[in-house]
Symmetry: C6
Subunit: 76 residues, 6 copies
């Protein structure tokens, strides 16, 4: 399985992959909370075409990334 | 009992379970603050059908997950 | 005394108690900022019957819990 | 002096004092950003009589407290 | 490649460069979530000419910077 | 130079100076995102005369301060 965390791990080869994982994990949580694909599709323009909504979504990605970066010891 | 933290522990076998716990813990807090099940049911569409509300809920899950991930030493 | 932190400690026996403390501490801060009990009572439905407000309150609990969990070394 | 951090230190004798410092530090920042006391007085009911505003203010206190608690090694 | 993290690293020579990276990384996430350049251009005034939106964007930069600063051991 | 981080360092002599740096750094980010001084001047009353906006700005300062405090090992 792995509906919430792809490959069930926070470890990624590099920062770029860590960032992509942060975006993915944030989206999978939304999906878990609103499982109706039709509704999610309808909601998408609500945030992708509003500056504030995009910033709010970017905010969540930033927090997910902080966790993933710490897990990977910042790919130092 | 364990009304706020299932099994009274932050330790989970893997990242996937940690993520599921983050969602669960966030919901249990809402439940503790609004104990009337009828009202909670009425409120559910308010957030599950609004893009911004879903992102705000996902934000809380991200913070809960950061704590759980640290507790589990990131399942490294 | 102990108007802001019950028993003046962040240490709790387990995660469940830590979570309860997080909720308590968040509420005591609100109480300290709005000391008029009549006004607080009037405000309560404002947040307890709004999905977004409950999520915002849950957000604060998540942050308080992160601190308490770290203080307790995650009850590992 | 010490317009932003009372006594110029984050160290407090106990958790209760740390919490009080968190509230104080949050207020002093507002004061530094809006130095006109008349305007601040006018704004006070805006947040003290709105549930969401109080939660937002409590949110800031939670973050300040996280820093102060870490500074004090959680008064362990 | 490196669409999300420039040069695929969080390590920067100094704090100034770390701060610039935080702004860049926040913007690249927005870009990844809204890939239509025309829409992004249309949204820009929405946040750059609203005080609250700028503060919200600055909030995200602050979180990205916290991660980058930790990665660089605070350039101590 | 140093358009984003004054003196290009997070290290300050004490907590008071660290707090002042947090406010400064938050402002410099806003300035970098909205470089038109006329627009910034016009926006200032928008946040300095709204309780919620001031709290939101204080929130960002709290996060910047957390990073600076950690960088300085909390001036212990």
């Amino acid at each position: 399985m792995g509906d919430l965390v792809p490959d069930n791990t926070l470890i990624t080869p590099d920062a770029e992959a860590g960032r992509a994982l942060a975006i993915k994990v944030a989206r999978l949580t939304i999906k878990a909370m609103q499982q109706d694909g039709e509704i999610r599709k309808k909601l998408r323009p609500q945030y992708a075409e509003s500056a504030d909504s995009l910033v709010m979504a970017g905010h969540v990605v930033a927090i997910e990334f902080a966790t993933i970066a710490a897990a990977n010891n910042y790919w130092r």
